[in-house]
């Protein structure tokens, strides 16, 4: 059960990264682009199993 829950949470991280990346590409506001990257950092660190 714990394995399933953990896997789902990793999938949610990938989902968040995907949409943050799409928003980063689409946005024309550099402040929003910066925000997308800052928010993305902890998700990436977790998916890459760094932190």
């Amino acid at each position: 059960m714990a394995f399933v829950i953990t896997t789902v949470y990793y999938a949610l991280c990938v989902y968040a990264i995907t949409f943050l990346a799409i928003n980063f590409v689409k946005t024309k506001d550099w402040q929003k682009a910066t925000l997308q990257l800052i928010v993305m950092l902890p998700f990436l660190l977790r998916v890459l199993r760094l932190k």
Partner: protein, 385 residues
């Protein structure tokens, strides 16, 4: 190319730089191995997974060291690193493995009970990843870990952590706190598996008493003390009285009956072993201090705590000399030796005799004097933690 695109590329480069720099630091800590020299008293070593095979290959599996005198007597278990951000317990356990000798009975030592937690720092903790102790041959470096299991090994935290078997509701992050997961269960979360494996060790090795090394804030009432359930009280009180008269002040705190999951409660409730939890005062853990540096961890000197002490706000003595690692690790070992003496007085037909340098020796020569140069010993005496 528009200015926006150029800006985004610059942002991406900065982002990649942050990711690489942080990632390299985090991986370095995660994979760093401490070197431990097995002293002349060590007669064997194993792994925690010997008591719960499913831990094998996980970051929770950790080394176990055995000191068997060959003479019948009591068996004691020492746990270092339950909370890896309280390193005096880890260092005390290392010093025991390198220097202790057991003349009667058996001693078992686990230096990194929460090995997983020792491989990550506390998020936003802003403290060093490593601490190094100077020795005659160089330096002995230790990982400076987190209080909890590394979230890479157990994640996510639940909304509420329900302790097994009491069903008491605890803080969600305490599911990764291995001093809230005793007595554990074999099919539970990783923290519960660690607790279960340790309980299996206690049961299978017929452990008579267990000491869990910790550090505590000076602004926290449960500091400078031995925390015990009722069945351990007499031995702890006698040890505290004798040590306060001869070496340093220490007092006894009762283990609350309704506070579940902690070693000083569950070990005694789920096995015949007597538990003792030692809290050594660690200024680094207090919130109102200066920067959380390696020097603060090793020397324990802080001007803000000094000001608090002068206003009577601390729960232990504190002056310009600080609370050094020598004092804190030395206290742990000297208390263990005193507990052994009191145990022997109470159970003379089942003695345990432990010799090791402790508080007095470390104060005089520094803990660095008691670490062995790994390059001076044969490979079979080396162990990686």
């Amino acid at each position: 190319m528009t200015r926006l695109k150029i800006g985004k590329i610059v942002l991406l480069c900065l982002f990649a730089l942050c990711l690489v720099v942080a990632g390299v630091e985090m991986r370095t800590l995660r994979n760093y191995k401490e070197t431990l020299v097995k002293g002349p008293g060590v007669t064997g070593s194993g792994r925690l997974s010997d008591y719960l095979p499913k831990l094998k290959g996980t970051w929770a599996d950790t080394n176990v060291y055995y000191f068997d005198s060959g003479k019948p007597g009591a068996t004691a278990l020492l746990l270092g690193g339950t909370h890896p951000n309280e390193p005096s317990g880890i260092i005390a356990a290392f010093l025991m493995v390198e220097n202790a000798k057991v003349e009667t009975g058996r001693l078992i030592v686990i230096p990194h009970y929460n090995r997983s937690g020792s491989t990550a720092t506390q998020p936003l903790g802003a403290y060093p990843q490593f601490i190094s102790i100077k020795t005659d041959w160089g330096k002995q470096t230790f990982r400076m870990g987190d209080r909890l299991i590394n979230p890479l090994d157990q994640w996510p935290d639940p909304e509420v952590y329900i302790h097994y078997p009491s069903k008491q509701m605890l803080s969600n992050v305490d599911m990764r706190n291995v001093n809230r997961t005793w007595p554990g269960r074999a099919d539970g979360a990783l923290g519960e598996q660690i607790g279960f494996a340790a309980m299996e060790l206690i049961r299978k090795e017929n452990v008579d008493w267990v000491v869990d090394f910790h550090g505590a804030e000076l602004l926290y009432p449960v500091t400078n003390c031995i925390v015990v359930p009722s069945q351990s009280t007499v031995i702890a009180q006698l040890a505290a009285i004798n040590l306060t008269a001869t070496d340093f002040e220490v007092h006894v705190e009762p283990s609350p009956v309704n506070f579940r999951g902690v070693s000083h409660r569950e070990i005694g409730d789920h096995s015949p072993a007597l538990p003792f939890l030692l809290e050594s005062p660690d200024p680094f853990l207090d919130q109102p201090t200066g920067p959380k540096t390696e020097a603060l961890e090793l020397e324990g000197k802080d001007e803000f705590l000094l000001a608090a002490s002068k206003r009577g706000l601390l729960f232990t003595d504190y002056d310009e000399s600080g609370k050094s690692m020598e004092q804190r690790a030395g206290r742990h070992i000297t208390i263990v030796k005193q507990l052994a003496e009191e145990w022997n007085n109470m159970f003379p037909d089942k003695p345990i005799v432990i010799s090791s340098p402790g508080y007095t020796e470390f104060e005089a020569e520094g803990v660095g004097a008691y670490f062995t140069d790994p390059s001076s010993v044969e490979e079979n005496r080396l162990s990686l933690e």
